[in-house]
Amino acid sequence: MSGTDFDVVVVGAGPAGSAAAIEVARAGRSVCLLERGPSPGSKNMYGGVVYGRILDTLVPAWWEQAPVERWVTRRSTMLISGDQALTVDFRNPGWGEAPHNGATAYRPEFDSWLAGVAVDAGAELVCSTTATGLIREAGQVVGVRTDRPNGDLRASVVVACDGVNSFLAKEAGMYPHDDPSNFTVGVKETIALPRHVIDERFAVRGDEGVDIEILGCTGDVPGGGFVYTNRSTVAVGLVLSLPALAAGGTRPEEILRLLKAHPAIAPLIEGGEVVEYSAHVIPEAGYDMMPELVGDGILVAGDAAAMCLAAGIWLEGVNFAIGSGALAGRTAALAARRGDASAAGLAGYRSSLESSFVLSDHRRLRDAPHLVMSDLAQRVLPAVACGVVEDVFTVTNPTPKPGMRRIVRQRLRRHGVRLRDLFREGLRALRTFG
């Protein structure tokens, strides 16, 4: 194709975009990586953990160079009901050793690092430049417009990694879902505490870190919470369903205040100073809201393609972004070499996603977001679980101990749950997660 500035233009230097640019550059094609922030990652925020296995092939021994805050060696799931909390706490010191499992990191640092890997591979990174639209010729995407003077950039393939609001995918007509029920908004406070205080409060040493996922902490708004540790800050955040938040009349920071004041959370962060507040929308619905992934001359990856797994016990996004971005980059490079950037020429992207963890995880867990956001998971499960544990461990002498079965039955009855419904939902959960 003649008259192109680059073989591939990647829009957005987040994990997806940088992974795409790395693959294109390593395939020997020219690639421009556009970023609207002053540096990669400056617009990005997340719920705390980068799962690095996907990086193994992209950046061998990445753990020796990535700007990691702490390695997650303690993973907790907490159910909150009233001022009670039930925590399942798993520790695995093995995750603290290479090749590691999950890491906490500041996104501006992590994303800048990954974009730096792309630049080292030969990608041209241009920051402070917003892609304002697509250049199309006869239905084929042949480049992007940017907000710089003389800002048109022509390329054989455009890879849209422009985040959850993906205006490029929308402009290409690939992203019809603007239904707010597909989205949640994440809000987060980063709270500074001395490193040794964090080590003591979270019972970890050295580079070890903690990630806590919380259910039942969001009041009337379906959602969840999280707490995780950086080296010398603790992040406390919420994920909140958009329609309920808009209808409920309770503002996000008020729900966050209640979580921070909860007896299970307050001692962890007491005396800390809020050093940053942040917010970002999350494509919660996953597989069911995914746009068309391939168009004529355009591929969509990362949050732009709703590749964020918000499935209760799993909260992953960066790994899916890197996975999808890398595959998009590989497909785009191949298409540029062959000179066929039509949707048919790019179709390999979809099929490679299908055979990778990216789409298979999403397809298998497509029901999970609905389950997690259901009233049963949001309200009943935390209340019943906390209640049962309370009854089990409350010593009622001189009354003899009630049997377990009776405790569970009583608690279920108190919350108006019928065994039939419980079985049905349990079966559904088993089908989804099993």
């Binding site: 917003t130 980063t190 958009l242 938040l245 209808a247 920071e253 004041a261 007896p263 809020v274």
Partner: protein, 100 residues
């Protein structure tokens, strides 16, 4: 719930922890508040994490774009077609996270 012994920070203090490189030439959000007058839900007012939307006595919506997280919540919850026009700010401007 027991109250923390440390008082909650004010909303202004909370927002002051965030760096915004404001583009003084162009507002990246615009609100056609003639449409908002007929809106009964007004989800943007409670949902916007930066609290940028404020109802006016006249029944409209007053908005500010300077302290925007660029998250997109407002236009997603807005059910009045075309009331909120939302684009990204000019490159290099807008919110800059450091510890997110």
């Amino acid at each position: 719930m027991t109250a923390s012994s440390y008082p909650e920070i004010s909303f202004e203090r909370r927002m002051s922890t965030v760096e915004f490189r404001v583009d003084s030439d162009r507002a990246h959000i615009t609100v056609d508040d003639t449409v908002c007058r007929d809106c009964t839900t007004r989800g943007c007012i409670t949902a916007c994490p930066a609290n940028l939307f404020v109802p006016t006595a006249a029944g409209g919506i007053l908005f500010n774009y300077e302290q925007c997280f660029e998250c997109g919540t407002c236009y997603l919850v807005c059910n009045e077609e075309g009331a909120i026009t939302w684009t990204y700010p000019e490159g290099g401007h807008g919110v800059v996270f450091h510890r997110s």
